[in-house]
Amino acid sequence: MVAPATLRVVRCGGSTLHGARAVFSADSYLLCASGDFVKMYSVATEETLRVMGGHADLVTGIQLNPHNHMQLYSSSVDGSIKLWDFMDGIPIKTFVVGSKLLALYALACCEDSVFVVIPKHGERDTFQLVSVKLTKAAGQDLEAKELSVVLDGVDASPKRIAFGREGEYVASVKDVNLQVYFFKQKQLNRFSVSATKTKSGNNHFTCIACHPTEDCIATGHADGKIRLWRNFYHKKEYTFSTLHWHHDTVMDLAFSMEGTSLLSGGVESVLVLWHNESDCQKDFLPRLGSAIEYISMSSDGALCCTLHTDNRITIINSNLRFSKSIQGLIKSTDVKTGLVVDPRTKALVLNGEPGHLQFYCLQSDQQLFSLDIVQRQYIHQAGLNQADLVKVAFSAQGKWLATVEEREEVTDPELQLKLWFYDEETQSFKLNTRINMPHEDHITDMCFRNMDELEDDSLILVTAGKDCVFKVWVMVEDTDPEAQQSVSWSCDFVGSYHNYQATNCCFSEDGSLLAVSFEETVTVWDSVTWDLKCTFCHPPGKIRNICFGRLTCSKYLIGATDYGFLCCWNLLSCALEWSAHLNVLVLQPDPLSEHIAAVSWLSKESSLFVFKPNEPRPIYIQRNLCKEKIQLAAFVPRDEPETIGSEKYLWLRRSQLFFLTDTQELMTLSTKSLEERLTPSSKQLAVEESLAVTPFSLLLGKHRRQQSQEDIDLGKLVVRNKHEQDSPAVKELLHTPAHVLPSASFLCPIFINSLLISKENKSAEEFADEVEMESEKTEDDSDEERDVTETEQEDTSPMELLGEMTCKLSKSQEKELRKIRKMDYSWISAF
């Protein structure tokens, strides 16, 4: 039973994956730092196998233990280094360093120490590379205070330090300086390039990589050049050669395992493979989707993976062939579309790749599909004005999708309104109508008239624009039977109000009224005749959001204004019902209930208010929801209503609230405690399923299936067998750890007793027993239900249930049963 826990803000949808370079384990798993967690993916199936949580803050570095390939070091901003057994997902040791750790390096030659980057004590923005001695003492939580500074004045980014051939030297870059420290000689060489500023940027160092076998350092620069340094033993006679293909910053470099080739990636989202360190031999893997943040190679050199800025991992074969892509919620630079829920798949829909719409499944934390809306080649180049998706709306059943894309121009924006039809055959959206320049200026809002029954013919789309009009688009049947598509969309009505800019639009639940806000005024229009019915105003302050109440509260219209007012108007009396002083950023009605969620921004913290329009007192208030500004929110309907203990959280029963912050973190509210959410069973299952099908498993699987078949055939006898397995004694015996079990001699009689084939009534008794337990469970549930909704009818009592289930037994038998059951319990309690 769920205890009435407090509501917690839970991060979901995966945090940024680009905290550190990804690491390939020896047996084709990919480990990746993701927010506070370390995630393990299967390279073969792209599945998330394990999420290892334990750090209290962002994970900044992960490295395999060079002495044990089944172990992993991870460092975090919270100042600890953890050693994980990633196959089982358990932390082995925790070393507390004390100060923020910004990068982690582990070397094979240094047996008991790792290198970390920490901020220099007492100085801001200066960092130093230190080696940390990891004590071998027993125990889980250890202090690691033995720090020795290796390099001073390094950069915080993990890309800007690299260890050379067999750990003989360490190289670090910062701004225009390269410093190389040789461990054996204890010699520090400094080199610098003259700072120049060209059109494409300055020549600051951005990343560094060391050749695995030779003394060669490759550095990437902000102007797109790659320099290969040699002879850096000498302070003067060093040499470098330049490779130049990138037109923008080189984001990361990686040498192949043998050092014969060099991989580089940058903003262009092209992975470049340089052969033999020469300028003329290079291969490309273009159009990887977004800027490459990190490149890492697997230890056998067969695979390479790139981490992208939009939160995606691409796995690439050694012959530079695209292999797999692991993607969760793609982080686009700006979520202009808002959070929209696809009625068909219940997926969250928002901007994905540039020009694409991503359908993100919340349950499985993966992208269902990405719909190309703009259908144009995206050029990865800074400063280009490219068309992007700004508005999305779904019809009630998800049959129609309307999208607006725009391209910012100096004179006038380039706008396109597209209407997509869901094709059942291909299971995807198909472009039906494209409207060039639907408005003269930006489109501020768009909505469908959601009428469930009348999906086909009376579907109406309304767009509100900055050109001071709102337009009503309707479907028109094509009269020509020879035409390929029978319907298209065209403008039906253009409305305006005193030449004010239209800012929001919204249909009432039954679709009879349309509310359009024009700057400070809300206008209400009849959706049949398009007559202006009434206007509402709450000066001063422009209307920021409007929405209609639902179900019992459908006579109310809610509006939020710029100067921090939340107003509720009664549509029947055309009067202000109530207003509240609240700086509302997001106003989101729950589609399945009357509740409306308002997120406000007050003095550097976001607060959540949930209210019903018919009463001004909020049902639920959560102050300090998060520190970031919340940009968008959406209610996602649950598949089945959740049982919620406390009356306070009733509004979360039918749908779940998700919100997106400024920093593009997707969060939700959960009543469950942390342990419940992280049930490992599902993940365990995933591992089992992902196991390769061997001949042995096939054989065994077949055998098992056969057995179960036989079980069914044999009937009664086997039922008993099952019960034996299920019997508490055996369960206890099998599931208790060996070291806490009593002596075998004590256990033996119990075990043998349990294996004895009991008499007829015994098995029946057990059956009844089970039913009893089950019914107890239902009792619990129903209790809970009663907690939840007082109004709900009381469930069928457990006694009745029992009677029904065991109606075959006579009363005397039942009595007997109960007697025996008591005895039964007693010998269990002997444990």
């Binding site: 159009r287 989707g289 259908q375 080649q377 391209r407 003269e440 253009v494």
Partner: protein, 520 residues
């Protein structure tokens, strides 16, 4: 990993009339042959038997023309005054015609003198015709009477005096030998049965009836009068089926095509309209030089002959069907080479190797893919693309602008190329679908090549042409706005029409962009 996305060439819906099967069919005529007659052509009648000669009644003569003859094969000119309505019998052997003096004459098609003469009408006879039994003739005259004549005895069988005005048109039923109809200027169409003493049905058309027509089935009747063409259901007792008002002057003649699927009507407004007889919508229309009085279509729609008020006979022959099989000389691979292996279903133990689908990119796309902006622009400025698919050229220009490389692609061109570019821009900039992009391109070209103005006469001339084109367009738009303003005042006096606001906004926006660009 995404593949390269080719440049999207925006398709615009084709404005104007849509090309349908009908348009193709009715356009398939050669340029017309014109023959001058002596007076207004009041009747054209095709012989129902091959070689489908046709009789043209104009003034006091009846000319018989052969299929391709420019000169009449035969002439009947025994009329003192105007002859009317020369009509062939079903077997094509006899010809009957009315006349101004009131007598009806029957000719053998091969003879010269009339075989019979029927006297009885006191005034001009404008309509005569054979009944379908071939032995009787009906007629209608300006003495308001409709008569029925026996050919062998040349006597009047019956005379109906039911109309109250001139009888000017008529037609006999093809299915019943006793039934004929006449239309009169008294606004009625009357249906007569030779077996009865009076009319069996009267249909009120509403205007003086100029022409009537019965469908081959005899069930539907078409009457034309005033600006209306009306279709009546005879079997339902003369119920109005549909009323067509597609002409803006009196409809003078009606005609069915050979299949009976299309109805043609000619009018004084110089148009011949073709209706579908299923939907009664106009599917095609012909335009002529002067008002049309008569119209006839040969069997198989081989020839359309139209007679006008100024005596001109306009003859259109159908183009011979193009033989497509002959032109295809190159032997194509057999069909089976294409389908070979396509239908093969892989078995369970088969290991499938899928061949990657090779996508063929256009030349400009290949160049754009490798970021060769200048060359991509060159590729779309080549004659076939530039001339026949300017939308591709404009789409590539827009794409280059999107990539921010349009300026560099336009720059650094020699006289010839600049000339080419400017010719293209000057020619296409006034097309509304290209205006936004091309105005920007013109802007850039002016910017880039400003320093070299005056060095080349050709380029200077092109600049002037561009200026002229834009100037003209601005004048035109201003005029349009004026018209719109006038229309707005008109609309305002009637009812509030919402759609006009939208149109106004649109056109305003367009002119504004042009004007701002000119100001630049």
């Amino acid at each position: 990993m995404a593949t390269y996305k080719p440049v999207v060439v925006q398709a615009f819906p084709k404005l104007g009339e849509r090309i349908t099967q009908d348009t193709v069919y009715w356009r398939g005529y050669k340029t017309p042959v014109q023959i001058k007659e002596f007076g207004a052509v009041n009747k054209i009648d095709f012989s129902p038997v091959p070689p489908y000669n046709y009789a043209v009644t104009a003034s006091s003569r009846i000319h018989i023309y052969g299929r391709y003859s420019q000169e009449p094969i035969k002439t009947f000119s025994r009329f003192k005054d105007a002859a009317y309505c020369a009509t062939h019998r079903d077997d094509g052997n006899l010809l009957v015609a009315g006349s101004e003096e009131g007598s009806i004459r029957l000719f053998d098609i091969n003879g010269k003198a009339p075989l019979r003469q029927f006297d009885g009408h006191t005034k001009a006879v404008h309509v005569v015709g054979f009944l379908s039994d071939k032995y009787r003739i009906f007629s209608g005259g300006d003495d308001y009477s409709s008569n029925l004549w026996d050919i062998p005895s040349a006597t009047e069988i019956v005379s109906y005096s039911e109309h109250t005005d001139y009888v000017r048109c008529g037609c006999a039923s093809k299915v019943n030998a006793d039934v004929f109809i006449t239309g009169s200027y008294d606004h009625t169409v009357k249906l007569f049965d030779a077996r009865t003493k009076s009319s069996v049905m009267t249909i009120e058309h509403g205007q003086p009836v100029e022409s009537v027509l019965l469908f081959p089935s005899g069930g539907l009747l078409v009457s034309a009068g005033g600006r209306y063409v009306k279709v009546w259901d005879v079997l339902k007792g003369g119920q109005l089926l549909v009323s067509l008002k597609n002409h803006h002057k009196t409809v003078t003649c009606l005609c069915l095509n050979s299949s009976g699927q299309r109805l043609l009507s000619g009018s004084l407004d110089r148009h011949v309209k073709i209706y579908s007889t299923t939907s009664y919508k106009v599917v095609h229309s012909f335009n002529y030089a002067t008002s049309i009085l008569s119209l006839a279509l040969s069997p198989e729609d081989e020839t359309i002959v139209v007679g006008m008020t100024n005596g001109v006979l306009n003859i259109k022959h159908r183009k011979p069907e193009e033989r497509k099989e002959k032109s295809r000389k190159k032997r194509q691979p057999a069909y089976r080479t294409y389908v070979k292996g396509r239908t093969y279903m892989p078995k369970q133990e088969d290991f499938c190797v899928s061949k990657p689908v090779k996508r063929v990119l256009r030349k400009y796309d290949k160049l754009l893919k490798s970021f060769q902006s200048s060359k991509a622009l060159d590729a779309v400025l080549e004659p076939p693309i530039r001339l026949y698919t300017p939308e591709v050229t404009v789409a590539v220009m827009q794409e280059l602008h999107r990539r921010g490389t349009l300026r560099s692609a336009l720059a650094g061109r020699d006289e010839k190329q600049v000339n080419l570019l400017l010719t293209f821009v000057a020619r296409r900039v006034i097309e509304p679908r290209f205006t936004p992009v091309l105005v920007m391109v013109a802007d850039m070209i002016t910017d880039i090549y400003q320093p070299v103005v005056g060095q080349s006469a050709i380029v200077d001339r092109q600049f002037l042409r561009l200026q002229e084109a834009i100037g003209k367009e601005i004048d035109y738009q201003e005029e349009l706005l004026e018209v719109l303003g006038m229309m707005d005042t008109l609309f305002a006096t009637f009812t509030k029409k919402r759609a006009t606001y939208l149109e106004e906004n649109k056109s305003n926006g367009l002119t504004e962009t042009i004007e701002t660009n000119m100001n630049n």
